[in-house]
Symmetry: C2
Subunit: 200 residues, 2 copies
Amino acid sequence: MVSRNRQESGKENLRQEIMDAARELFVAEGYASVSMRKIADKIGYSPTTIYLYFRDKSDLLHQICEQTFAHLAQNIKSIQQLSDNPLEKLRSGLREYVHFGLKNPSQYEIVFITPLPHQFESDFSESNGKVAFDTMRDVVTECVLDNLLKTKDVELISQTLWAGIHGITSILIKHEHFPFVERDKLIDNVIETLIAGTRA
Amino acid sequence: MVSRNRQESGKENLRQEIMDAARELFVAEGYASVSMRKIADKIGYSPTTIYLYFRDKSDLLHQICEQTFAHLAQNIKSIQQLSDNPLEKLRSGLREYVHFGLKNPSQYEIVFITPLPHQFESDFSESNGKVAFDTMRDVVTECVLDNLLKTKDVELISQTLWAGIHGITSILIKHEHFPFVERDKLIDNVIETLIAGTRA
DNA sequence: AAAATAAATTAACAGCGTTAAGTTATTTTG
DNA sequence: CAAAATAACTTAACGCTGTTAATTTATTTT
């Protein structure tokens, strides 16, 4: 079965090569502007080869998103571990969420903003985006246990915070032309407003 | 000049006819899935006729968005006039914004959520989007003048509040399957959290 | 070495946004 | 009232797009 392993690893290599090329192009030019032919050109294969590894264009993007969001969940966890203070953990997690979205706008767009084609109803509840959300909920629980927040409704607070950070992330991505105040100042203010409004 | 006026009003009628057909299709099937040919079919003209009234497909969408923005701005203004208390005006305005989005999810989606082509650069200073945002900023200014808020940076506060209400509106529209807590409770909590976090 | 299988390609389809040229209908002018 | 001018609209076409089916090339198994 050695030969079979070699074969499969070769397949996996090309699969990852396609994903890397596609991610670069999606980020640089936007999902809609990148054609399958462009991706194929970049890696020196014919366009139809991509269909041996991905069902269609949106599946390709979906797989890229899942990979990146697994990284996000890990990022948030790592950052939170740097502090012992539950409230500081919460703050750094929220900040990392927004930061991630702005660093990967195309991928954030597809997972949290644009609905995927109805062929596969792979929605938020099955994505790694939810894993990232769960890490935030865990920290909210810590805060509640320490009596740091105004209510003990962990779910209500978590969803409120998520709404807030999703809001700032998505409008910064979508409304590029809007005359925003200085970006980091706005992000800070959103996060501090959310935390202040949630505190005991 | 009577004949010329008749001619122009005919042109305006077809222009509005195109916009109505396009909005319906965009709402039902999404911007990307609707072709110029589909729109033309719906109104019984050839596809190229649309180009006599709109520069291109994104210009057509842009004009539709302007109409929706105007509608939203008027709604918020009307609701705010019902109260004298600045903080209550602010609260009712925020609530109306979310309410408008949930009552017109497809239109909200097109204007505020759906990712637009990169070339879609509009002059915000002359758009109705600015008009809608200004109605909220004016009430924030009232609150600041009454020393009700923690800072006097009207722009920063307004943009923070917009991020928050856009966040809850868009996730309620986009992630209908998500196990949210009771909807009105969540909306209330987001708005109260935002206001509490912004108050003096 | 032959057969089987996997991997990648070529050719093609139907549809897209958009432009240029041509046609029909309306209005203006002499 | 007819001719010229203009406005309104259509036809034909270009170069793209995502995707499928058939086919060729390369590798592995027998």
